[in-house]
């Protein structure tokens, strides 16, 4: 286990270095970025705009890559992720504010799709001759072909613009007082519905297919016959034996899915203006905010690795053969 | 008669994590005579398959020597030559895993023939394969040549494996549990075929099994070794051994065999042993490795070194010790 932990750390380190170098290879430095904006706004010459831009963000672009890297590493060791170039506030502060929203949406979406998907898959496995089975397969295939951001757009069109049921963007209305009160919680929940659905709807199909396959193989196992022979109630068999045992192989991938959802939220969050990690990442990429980009990459990489690790742990607990 | 293969004091051990060592084979001496048959029996996990790999030449012993005819394998400066390699061939237990699932029988057999330049062109290969298939009793040969392994029954697959083993004209075929995965009804016919090959082609067989009945059938008149925890504990002619077992282990194994009379069968239970489980091979018991399970074990069995194979049996309790 210690070995596994060590390789995880190494993976994070290498991934971090890789993204560090990659990020800084992007054309168009941050000063240029601001200079261009100023030039458009004020109609001044480029030289002047560049001077102004450098003044605006107070940034010296001429520090070498190595120097930057080592000072970044040094900062990391003391838990300092640096100062966001555009916002002039610590990156960790941005992360602390953004992460909960991403976690809210991704965990809600993952668990919702898992529960509903598994339910559908179970039904599909039980009624393999009915219409449900081909419908399920069709749904899963279709949803695999539709990326979440397109689903998000369609949701927006139907529920936001067409029916005007749901708020179109943001995480809550400024009218409500943030805190532990019902109006705020309701407001947050309402705002989360569409982003959650955009992630959950396509994932549901995948879970349903996986669950169907798993349940089908469990259906062939001896202990089900034994349970049936013991005269247990069908409902009990369904839930306790079939449901649980076919869900188990999916639990590790549930952890993995949670991990990857952390990193995959850029487009959807952009569509819904949802202030999570992906939203800030898109902004950071747009503005060449290197420290912020790096921080977000770091945290999502860590998320993937940690959730993978958790998945392996769960698997090891579930499968006695791997315990040794 | 010169032995095809002889093993002297062969040990095989595998390092495990945590500094432990698995001693799979310990101090085995074995000779397989030209055109002869040697049978090895034992429970699963006793090291007979590891010994098989040493016989096959794919696993170097940790200690001891292996001779192929005059050549000492694994000696300093030793190099495999093709002739040497081809002298021993194999029939595996798992017939499904031993044949490449993506190829047809024609390719499985014809490919190596062409690789070794034994046949030229597709036509000649086809003819050779058909002959081979007929030799192992797969007729009509054309029908079987066009099949994929998964389209054949276990017995048919073993015949193909046998054909593959014998087509390069080896001096010895290692048959590692060749019929354990085959329906009982066709076991005999496959063993019969192997005997025939032994008789007519003069190919020696090393027959590894846990099934005493097939050992008696196939190895009759030839020597047999009984393995326990990596050691040979008894050695002798098959019939003699099975009729008059001397080692308590073989006695126990024989006692567990259902007698031919089905009415009596019920009265025979499990192995008459203290414990059903084989001891952990990484932590072998002191003294005689069999003592924790032996019903007759005495104090001296627990202490000291394991007994040597003297006079065909390795047991402290056998008369004359």
């Amino acid at each position: 286990m210690a070995r596994r932990l060590l390789t995880s750390l190494a993976t994070i380190a290498v991934a971090m270095t890789l993204t560090f170098v990659l990020i800084r290879q992007m054309p168009g430095d941050i000063v240029h970025q601001w200079a261009v904006q100023l030039q458009m706004q004020q109609g001044i010459s480029y030289e002047q705009a560049r001077l102004q831009a450098a003044a605006m963000i107070n940034y010296n672009p001429d520090i070498g890559l190595f120097e930057q890297y080592f000072s970044y590493l040094g900062g990391l060791l003391t838990g300092n992720l640096g100062l966001s170039l555009t916002y002039r506030i610590p990156v960790s502060l941005v992360l602390v504010q953004a992460l909960p929203w991403t976690l809210l949406v991704t965990t809600l979406a993952t668990f919702l799709s898992f529960v509903v998907g598994c339910g559908l898959g179970l039904l599909g496995a039980l009624r393999r001759q009915s219409l449900l089975d081909p419908l399920l397969t069709l749904y899963a295939t279709l949803s695999q072909a539709l990326p979440p951001f397109l689903i998000g757009l369609l949701l927006l069109l139907v529920f936001g613009i067409g029916l005007e049921w749901l708020p179109m963007r943001g995480n809550y209305t400024p009218d409500v007082e943030p805190g532990l009160n019902l109006p705020f919680l309701l407001d947050v929940a309402l705002h989360a519905v569409m982003p959650v659905m955009a992630f959950a709807l396509p994932a549901m199909g995948d879970w349903a297919l996986a669950m169907k396959a798993s349940a089908t193989s469990v259906l062939g196992e001896d202990y089900l016959h034994v349970a049936r022979a013991r005269g247990l109630k069908p409902r009990r068999i369904l839930l306790r034996y079939l449901g649980r045992n076919s869900m188990m192989p999916l639990v590790p991938s549930l952890a993995t899915a949670l991990g990857s959802a952390l990193g995959g939220s850029m487009l959807v969050e952009a569509i819904f203006g949802y202030p999570g990690l992906g939203f800030f990442l898109a902004q950071a990429i747009d503005r060449r905010d290197y420290p912020l980009m790096q921080g977000i990459f770091l945290i999502s990489t860590m998320g993937v690795v940690l959730f993978n690790l958790a998945g392996e742990l769960v698997l090891a607990r579930l499968d006695p053969r791997l315990r040794r | 008669m010169n032995p095809v293969l002889s093993l002297r004091d062969v040990h095989v051990s595998f390092p495990l994590s945590g500094g432990r060592v698995l001693r799979a084979v310990q101090g085995v001496d074995l000779e397989i005579p030209e055109g002869g048959i040697v049978t090895l029996v034992g429970e699963s996990g006793c090291g007979k398959s590891t010994l098989g790999k040493v016989l096959l030449g794919v696993l170097p012993p940790t200690r001891g020597t292996v001779h192929f005819g005059e050549v000492q394998l694994w000696a300093r400066g030793f190099r495999w030559t093709r002739e040497l390699r081809l002298q021993v061939q194999v029939v595996h237990q798992d017939s499904y895993a031993s044949l490449n699932p993506v190829h047809r029988v024609q390719t499985i057999l014809g490919g190596p023939l062409r690789a070794h330049g034994l046949v030229r062109g597709a036509q000649e290969a086809g003819r050779a394969v058909r002959e081979l298939l007929e030799r192992v009793g797969l007729t009509p040969a054309d029908y079987f040549a066009a099949k994929h392994p998964f389209q054949l029954s276990g017995g048919q697959r073993q015949r193909v494996a046998l054909a593959r083993a014998l087509m390069l004209r080896p001096r010895l075929i290692l048959a590692d549990e060749p019929v354990s995965g085959v329906d009982a009804s066709v076991r005999l016919s496959i063993l019969e075929l192997m005997k025939e090959l032994n008789r007519e082609e003069g190919i020696a067989f090393a027959y590894i099994t846990h099934d005493l009945a097939t050992a008696r059938f196939f190895g009759a008149g030839h020597p047999m070794g009984v393995m326990y925890l990596g050691r040979l504990v008894e050695w002798g002619e098959v019939g003699t051994l099975l009729d008059n077992p001397r080692h308590p282990y073989l006695k126990a194994l024989l006692a567990a065999l259902p007698p031919p009379d089905p009415l009596q069968a019920r009265q025979v239970g499990l192995l008459p042993l203290k414990s059903l489980d084989l001891p952990d091979a990484t932590r072998p018991p002191s003294g005689c490795p069999f003592h924790p399970r032996c019903l007759l074990a005495e104090a001296r069995c627990e202490a000291g070194d394991p007994p040597a194979l003297l006079d065909g049996v390795a047991c402290h309790l056998v008369e004359g010790r």
Binding site: T141, V304, N308 | -
Partner: protein
Amino acid sequence: MSALRTLVRNRRALLGLLGLVFFLLIALLGPELLPLDRMPDPDRRFEPPSLTHLLGTDYAGRDTLVQLVHGSRDIIQISFFTGFFAVLLALAVGLTAGLLGGWIDGILTALTDVFLTVPQFPVMAILAALMRVGDPVTFGLVLGLWAWPGLARSLRSQVRALREREFIEAARVMALSPVWILTRELLPNLVPLVGVYFIRVARDAITVSVGIMLLGLVPLKVENWGMMLNMATFQSGALYVPRAWAYLLSPLVAIVAFQFCLIQLASGIEELVDPRLRRRA
């Protein structure tokens, strides 16, 4: 030949295969039959389907069907090359790691883990800013650069499992050369895995390429399906114009249908290969 015959016997695989052949035919012959006319005719914009324009017209009054047909070439090429490069990379990494083992395996496995860990799309966004892509081949290369780790990982474990299989041992005692064993015994066993993965990646490439097109990595081609979607949602506002449903739905349905065929084919092959599923079929 017989592999094809078995494939055809599977219903899903057959469906997928027929669909793919259909798309290929469209891509090969369509552009010859329906010439692309890019001249705008703003008076006829967003026309619903009619006999002259079977799928209606776009925001500049041009025929949607013609664009769809011409765009199929791009989509098929991009997904093919993405799959090709991903498989190439995965084969190199996976086989080397699986066959050689030891420290090389350790390094390659770690590398695979890193690529699996870094979130894919943002990196693409950065790559988008880094590289200049002009043709489907380079586009495929860029997409393939990040699509290989999954296959590399399963190839490695598959090779390691196969290496222990008895038929490899049998081949070794038959004194067959390592090259023979690799090419005749090992590789054929990996073909289904590689094939299924190829299709998967090719399918993913379609979705990702739509996203990449939004980032301006590739030249804008009005007839590209992803670009059509982009034009419909972001530039011309067809998403919000009820009359323009045909222009919005055409590329959407085409993308979904093409992916559908790929998925059907992939799962068909999987069913054929997985003996557990086969026995039941």
